[in-house]
């Protein structure tokens, strides 16, 4: 795992110390996927960058340039990562 590689295909929008975000981070680490971290504000209303991408202001959210997928909610993201990078059915 290398965090914040300039060429990393996955961008993770995260909030510092957010356990749902850490869940996604752990999964990215498990699959040894390069990603860039973008930290957003605790104030929900200040997260316009995330809103533009995913339609919602919630984090975690990921953008995967490998597949063109943008997605939020940690449960969905973990499931997506399992399917896409973990070989899970």
């Amino acid at each position: 795992m290398s965090d914040s590689d300039d060429t990393a295909p996955i961008t993770l929008y995260r909030l510092q110390a957010c356990p749902f975000c850490e869940r996604v981070v752990r999964k990215l680490a498990d699959y040894d996927i390069d990603y860039t971290s973008r930290f957003v504000e605790p104030m929900h209303s200040d997260r316009n960058a995330v809103k533009r991408l995913s339609g919602a202001r919630t984090v975690p959210a990921i953008v995967d340039d490998n597949t063109g997928v943008t997605m939020s909610e940690s449960g969905n993201i973990v499931e997506y990562l399992d399917k896409t990078y973990g070989g899970a059915e």
Partner: protein, 179 residues
């Protein structure tokens, strides 16, 4: 006019000057929307970078420096990128950007390592354990060579804005005129 205050002389340093390589670093770069780790070299893509090292967010020189830079709006005239750097955390940068209407990204370096790399450390009297960069500006070309450097040799001090603008005129392309 007799102003009865003290300007502190700062010791000589071995900071990078014209023709030197600008030391590489990576730090969180804060915009009004998020922060992420960004390297100096990644900001040198296509146009020079003006790196503005300034006192911690909230100190009056920080406000004065960014007010002046906003008024001068160098990016409107010249092809360059501007980035700030202080020891303030990303959260403080976010507030500073919002409250002062700053449209320049700011590097966050609480451990002051970049100032150490550039030999521009300012140990702050009366704030035990806290050091920050001296006020300083570096114009860094796309090949990461320093084209112009100004580093405070006294405290407080402010960049020589007219001299800086002359340096930009010498080393940066003019922006094409708008329609």
């Amino acid at each position: 006019m007799d102003l009865d205050f003290d300007i502190v002389d700062l010791p000589a340093t071995d900071h990078p000057t014209e023709g030197d390589d600008a030391p590489e670093f990576t730090r969180p770069l804060v915009t009004d929307e998020y922060w992420e780790d960004v390297s100096l070299s990644s900001l040198l893509d296509g146009e020079p970078l003006l790196l503005v090292c300034y006192p911690m967010d909230g100190a009056f020189p920080a406000t004065y420096i960014w007010n002046e830079l906003r008024d001068r709006d160098f990016e409107d005239t010249y092809q360059l990128t501007i980035a700030g750097l202080s020891i303030s955390t990303p959260y403080e940068h976010t507030t500073f950007i919002e409250e002062r209407g700053i449209d320049t990204p700011l590097f966050s370096d609480p451990a002051n390592g970049v100032a150490e790399q550039y030999d521009i450390v300012n140990d702050l009297d009366g704030m035990a354990g806290v050091a920050e960069p001296r006020p300083a500006v570096f114009l860094i070309d796309t090949d990461q060579t320093v084209r112009y450097a100004w580093v405070a040799d006294e405290w407080p001090a402010f960049p020589p804005y007219d001299e800086l603008e002359d340096a930009l005129a010498t080393h940066c392309e003019m922006k094409p005129l708008g329609p």
